[in-house]
Structures are given as C-alpha cells and as structure tokens.
Amino acid sequence: MPDKDHKCTCSEQPLVPKVVEVIDIIDRTPDVKSFFVRNVDGNGLPFQVAPGQCGMVSMPIGEAMISCTWQEEQEHLEFAIKRVGLLTDELHQIEIGQQIGVRGPYGNGFPVEACKGKDMVFIAGGIGLAPLRSFIKYCFKHREDYGKITILYGSRSQADLCFKEELFDLWPKESNTEVFVTIDNAEPDWNGHVGFVPAYLEELNPSSAGAVAVVCGPPIMIKFVLQSLEKMGYNDDQVITTLEMRMKCGIGKCGRCNIGSEFICLDGPVYYLRQLRDLPPEW
C-alpha cells in the first residue's frame, strides 16, 4: 500500500530479492568493479532507477545497499562497487554469468527537476563519483536544461581514479563543461593537479551565482568541502549531498540507518544542506 509520500514501485515482497544475471564486469580501479546485470531470462530489468537511487545487491553471504547508475536507455543495471567488506570481497571474485540478487529501487534520488536552469558543480571523491555520475549523465542527456557544468573529482592516486574514460575523454568534450581532476600525492607520470579536493575547489572557486553544488565522497572530504562551499558563498539551499549509513532492510523498517527521525535508506540518501542542518549532527 504505497502512501502518498513515496512514489513506491516496490513489489508485494519488498525484502525478497529478484535473481539477476551478471552480464558484464569492468575493472574500474584495483578495488572498484562495475557489475552489469539484467533479468535471468535475458529480457529487461528487475527495476528502473532514477539518478541517485540505490539497490540492495546480494549474494548468499549478505546484502548491501549500492548506488545504481542511471542511464537513459536502461537495458541493464550497473553497480560500481568498491571492495570493502565480506559481501563486496565475494562480489569481486565472481565471473560473468554469475547470478546475484537485487532489490530496489531505493531512496529519493537527486532533485534533477529542481536543479534545472542552474549551473551545476559536481564535487566527488573516490567511489563517491559513482552516484554523481548518474546525475552528470542525466545532465548531459538533457544538456539544454542545465547551465555550465563543472566537475571536480579527486582520488588518492592515479590508479584509484574511477570512470577514467568519462573523466578524460567524454565529459570534457561536452559543451560549456569543465572537468578538473586531482590526486592526493604527486606521482611521476601524473601531469595533473595534486592536492586535496577542498583546497582545489577553493582555488577553482566556481561562482555560486545561480549554481548548485552536489557533493559525494568520504565523510572527511564532505565535511571540508561543505566548509569551503560556505566560504565561497554557497548557501544551504545550493548544496546537495548524499549520506551513508549501515543499512539492512532498505525500506525504513529495520532501524539502524536513522539520523534523527529520518531513515537514510528511505527518506534519503540525497539531502539539501538546509535539511541536514535540521538533523542531529550524526552525519
């Protein structure tokens, strides 16, 4: 019984995964792989996602909430997954053809409509580019709806940069778009920028006039980027970020992902900074 607050597309058994087949696996970095899945019978997808929404990905050993990549023609679902725990270790060992479980879509997704007409500033660190990539792709598909697009991405090292083809080949070719990439420490064969994301952001100083900044990355990066944006004149309605908490059910029942009275899996994970200011400082 979906109520009016949620555009629910869930099944009658929201906690029971659908079995899908992994049809492709791409190594993104030494510890990030993209998994492409579709229904086992070869036809269609278990669900459609909006930019910023997530899915619960499972193997028998466990389940985890993973951001799901939006694409205009959804012939498969893509999950870009970093190896950090029990389930993701196991996922990194599977081969094409393996069946896994997925359920979703979960979460609110990015406010793509509300951002129309704005200059977009995307700021990501590490695997944090995965959710933003959906929004970035959406903007390029609807290029005329958005103003200038600035993408700033940082990772620990060159090897850890995700989605290199998009960063270095595809996105810079888009109109009225600038892409900036930085790594934490200098490397012999790296000619690009070296340094942390917040400092680089302040150096680039994209104008806050008519702009929205969308931030995703490790908590420590988010913390300092938010401070930088404030210094640069971005108000709390011009900053959007996504939160991460431990999740089990994905549908606002099991309890653990709450911040205050919000369940991040259901009401989030995307928030305007103004909304976060109203929550207990546990994010």
């Binding site: 949620h6 906690l15 028998p60 389930l87 479980g101 908590p219 029942k253 099991c254 309890g255």
Partner: protein, 337 residues
C-alpha cells in the same frame, strides 16, 4: 454484559487453541512471557493477574527470529523460489494496554510509509488481540503518561475486565467477533461489578519532552545519564515496542535461508559500516540514540512516543538506568538557547 467465568478459562483457551495459536502470559520455571497455550504443562502458571510478565507479546507478530526466504546456490545459479510469510491464526490473550500500544507502534513501522513488510503483514493480519484492562497500576507503570489508556486500550479486538469471579468479555472489532464466536457457548450474560481504577504511583510528565529533546542532542546530560550503561541490550529485548531487526543468513553448503532477528541499537555492530566507520561507535551515542528514538524521533515521525510506559526496562536494567528519571532530567535540564 458478556462474561467469561474464570472456572471456564482453561476450557476457553483449549477451544481457541483448536484453530489458533494462543499466546498466554505464563510463568514457566524462572521465565515469564507469552507462550503458546498448547505448551502449558503442570507446574506452569497462568499469569493473567500479573501486570507485566517479563517478555512482552511482541514475538507473536515479530518473532525473535523469523525465516524470510530460501536460497539455493549451485554453480553460477541462485534460486530464491520459496518465501516464508506465516499467516497462521494467532491470538494474544491477556495483553496489557502498554503491550498493545507496542504492537500498534510496530503496525506504523511495518505497514506504512511506502512499504508494507510482507512477513509482518502476514502475521499481523492473522493476529487477534484480547487485551486485559488494568485497574491497578504497578509500581513501575506509567503508561498513562505515554498515550496509553490502560482501562480501554486502543487496538484491542476484545477487552477482558477482571471482575473477580469472571472476566467481562467486551468485543471491540470484527476480529473480536470472530474469536468470540468460537467460545460463544462458554460465555454468559451476567451483570458484574467492575473494579475501580486506582491512581498511578509513577508521576511522569511527557508533555513537551519530544520538542525539548530536539534542542538537547549535544547536551552534557547525556554523559551523566549514560555513564552506567553497559550496552547489554536487556532493555531492547524486553521492550514491547523495540522492533529493530538484523538480516542474516544460514547456509548449509549450497542451501539455506535468509532470516531476520531482533537486533539492538545498544550493540556496536548495529550501526558499524563495512569500511569500519560507525556513527554511534561510543556507548553514550548508542544510549542517546535509544532514548531519543523512544521519546523524540518516533514522535516526530509517527506522532506518538515509542515508549509505552510498561516499566520493564527499569526492572531489568542491571545498572539502574531508568527512563522515568531520564524524562524528569530532560524536563529539568537547562537548555542554552
């Protein structure tokens, strides 16, 4: 009025048990809780006169562990083709108002806000609540402060009223009608004297607490209040409204099942993330989460507190954490604007 004579109580429980699993408050050796009537053996004691048995009846709708679905794995294949929604008819016989309120709170969680939990829905749809009105509050009771009407509990399908020799049998809903029909020949029409309601011993004032707590997340009072807590989780285990659950798996080689089990916000692992981070890694943070969930967050989200005033947590806590004193402390605390 309809009454069930106490001499016919066991006959009624036997009759109801023919078509329902009937959970009855019982003392079984050192344990008390709501157990299936069919498990009653010599030496057990029916505890309809006790106010709160140790274990609340929440397990009738949210079992401590519950199978969800079967998993079969073979080569590259995974099969999930059997789920375990359980809709066998159950009756909670003799639930007190605080415990009924706990189930109403779980109804909000599991059946609203976008998703219906199919496992909870199956059990709850087939569940009937026969409540037992309270006329004499116990020394730890404060349900009156937590939006519970102990004499006329909302959510009950039938209300029992202990009138000495007999229980008044008051039908409230269609589900109540259905179970009444089963034992119709054991009920009598008779006028009996209802007991007088006695006053509560605990004086608790929850008014304004949720609103005030919103300004007290970083208040030094949490350091003091949480100092003795050892995060044992007893309070969440006996609480009639604590519903948080974990999802786990049991595999024997290539076959097994995913199940859920009661979890506790008191445990460090509860909110620990895969990368090792934990927003509530410290004992104080988990303590604060529990009491804010009970007294502020749930009220903000669902319009009623998640504490039902049953008093169990105050009785079982090994370090004397006391939610009434926490409410008092919040009321008295000075808050810098």
């Amino acid at each position: 009025m309809k009454v069930l004579s106490k001499t016919k109580l066991e006959a009624a429980l036997n009759k109801l048990s023919e078509s329902n699993e009937v959970f009855v408050p019982m003392q079984k050796k050192a344990q008390s809780g709501y157990y299936p009537w069919t498990s009653f053996v010599s030496g057990d004691e029916i505890m309809l006169e006790a106010l709160n048995v140790y274990q609340s009846p929440k397990g009738a709708v949210l079992p401590q562990t519950e199978k969800m679905y079967q998993i079969k794995q073979g080569g590259m294949e995974i099969k999930i083709d059997k789920t375990f929604e359980d809709d066998h008819p159950t009756i909670i016989f003799g639930a007190r108002g605080c415990d009924v309120k706990g189930i109403l709170a779980m109804d909000e969680v599991f059946l609203t806000r976008g998703y219906e939990d199919s496992f909870y829905k199956a059990r709850r749809s087939a569940n009937t609540i026969i409540a037992n009105a309270c006329y004499e509050p116990g020394s730890n009771c404060f349900c009156n402060a937590m939006e519970v009407n102990a004499v006329d509990p909302a959510g009950a399908d039938v209300i029992l009223r202990d009138a000495g020799e007999a229980f008044v049998w008051e039908v409230k809903t269609e589900k109540g009608e259905a179970v009444t029909a089963i034992i119709a020949d054991l009920l009598e029409e008779k006028e009996v004297q209802l007991p007088q309601s006695k006053p509560f011993n605990q004086k608790v004032d929850y008014s304004g607490v949720a609103e005030k707590l919103k300004t007290m997340f970083d208040h030094p009072l949490w350091d003091k209040l949480s100092a003795s807590c050892i995060n044992c989780g007893m309070c969440t285990f006996v609480c009639p409204s604590c519903y948080c659950f974990d999802i786990q798996v049991k595999m024997w080689g290539e076959e097994g099942y995913r199940f859920r089990a009661w979890d506790s916000c008191m445990f460090e692992e509860y909110s620990r993330e895969a990368g090792g981070g934990n927003p509530r890694g410290a004992s104080k943070e988990r303590f604060r989460q529990r009491f804010l969930h009970k007294l502020e967050f749930f009220t903000e989200r669902y319009g009623t507190p998640l504490c039902t005033g049953c008093g169990r947590c105050m009785i079982v806590c090994p370090t004397d954490v006391n939610i009434v004193r926490i409410i008092d402390a919040v009321k008295e605390a000075e808050v810098n604007a």
